[in-house]
């Protein structure tokens, strides 16, 4: 049942910013892939970590749980982390769970 492009991640490094573009379905099956890809990026405290969700089609508590651990790790390292281009359906789940204020800066709301 392997679908090659069910979930995709692409990382772009600019000066001072590391942008991770996520697309497809982030569920229990793809969670390990995201966790592994994010682990080294979370440690790069000299630049801002940005997650771009423009092409993300699905998330549930598994993915939100990973975001919670990234928020906590970045906070502990005193390093900036933001999430941008959140699709409305996914924003609804972020608002319901209460994670939104930890993901976006007030200017974006």
């Amino acid at each position: 049942m392997k679908q090659p492009d069910k979930f995709s991640m692409r990382t772009e490094t600019q000066e001072g910013r590391c942008i991770v573009y996520m697309g497809g379905e982030l569920d229990l099956e793809s969670a390990a892939q995201m966790r592994a890809a994010m682990a080294p990026l979370v440690e790069l405290t000299d630049r801002e970590l940005v997650l771009n969700l423009r092409d993300l089609e699905y998330i549930d508590s598994t993915g939100i749980g990973i975001l919670v651990s990234v928020v906590k790790a970045r906070h502990a390292n005193e390093a900036p982390f933001t999430v941008e281009a959140i699709p409305p359906g996914i924003r609804k789940l972020f608002d319901m769970t209460g994670i939104t204020p930890f993901l976006i800066t007030s200017q974006q709301t």
Binding site: L28, D60, M96, T97, I99
Partner: protein, 158 residues
């Protein structure tokens, strides 16, 4: 699909890679019945959360541990029941029964917490409750989660 109580049953291995198949089946059934795109998205997340719990917890020996190896006998059954004005989805396993009351107490969102207090545990059950009209958890031999979403009256435009 006019009669009441029409049932579609799907039985799959209790593995993460089958959960998208459950979502696809739900999508087909719910759109046939006439649920809106947004309602179907809500149900997709709720049913996935119930399946996540089966895959992560039902067949593991250690508390909160993950099943260490695949076992073809570990399965989950998803029943879609068309009611008069609603869809009930039942997710059932034959694994470890689980303390529904303790889980319900943990099922809370992150509102008003500080970064240090953030905890991902409990979000799954919380989302199920928030996204469906009714959620019941029965735990005797294995666990059965019954989730119901009501169909908005026809002619009522969202």
């Amino acid at each position: 699909m006019k009669a009441n109580g029409e049932i579609v049953t799907l039985q799959v291995p209790a593995e993460a890679e089958y959960i998208d198949l459950v979502r696809l089946t739900l999508y087909g059934i719910a759109s046939k019945i006439g649920f809106s795109y947004e309602e179907i998205e809500d149900m997709k997340v709720a049913v996935s959360e119930a399946c996540n719990n089966v895959v992560l917890h039902a067949y593991s020996d250690a508390p909160n541990g993950r099943a260490s190896e695949r076992n073809p006998g570990h399965r989950m059954e998803i029943r879609f029941i068309r009611l008069n004005d609603a869809l009930s989805i039942i997710v059932k396993d034959e694994g470890r029964s689980f303390d529904a009351d303790a889980a319900a107490r943990k099922a809370e969102p992150l509102h008003g917490k500080s970064v240090g207090e953030l905890e991902a545990g409990g979000l799954g059950l919380y989302l199920m409750q928030a996204l469906m009209d009714q959620v019941e958890v029965h735990s005797e031999t294995g666990t059965e989660v019954v989730m119901t979403k009501r169909l908005a009256k026809s002619g009522e435009l969202a």
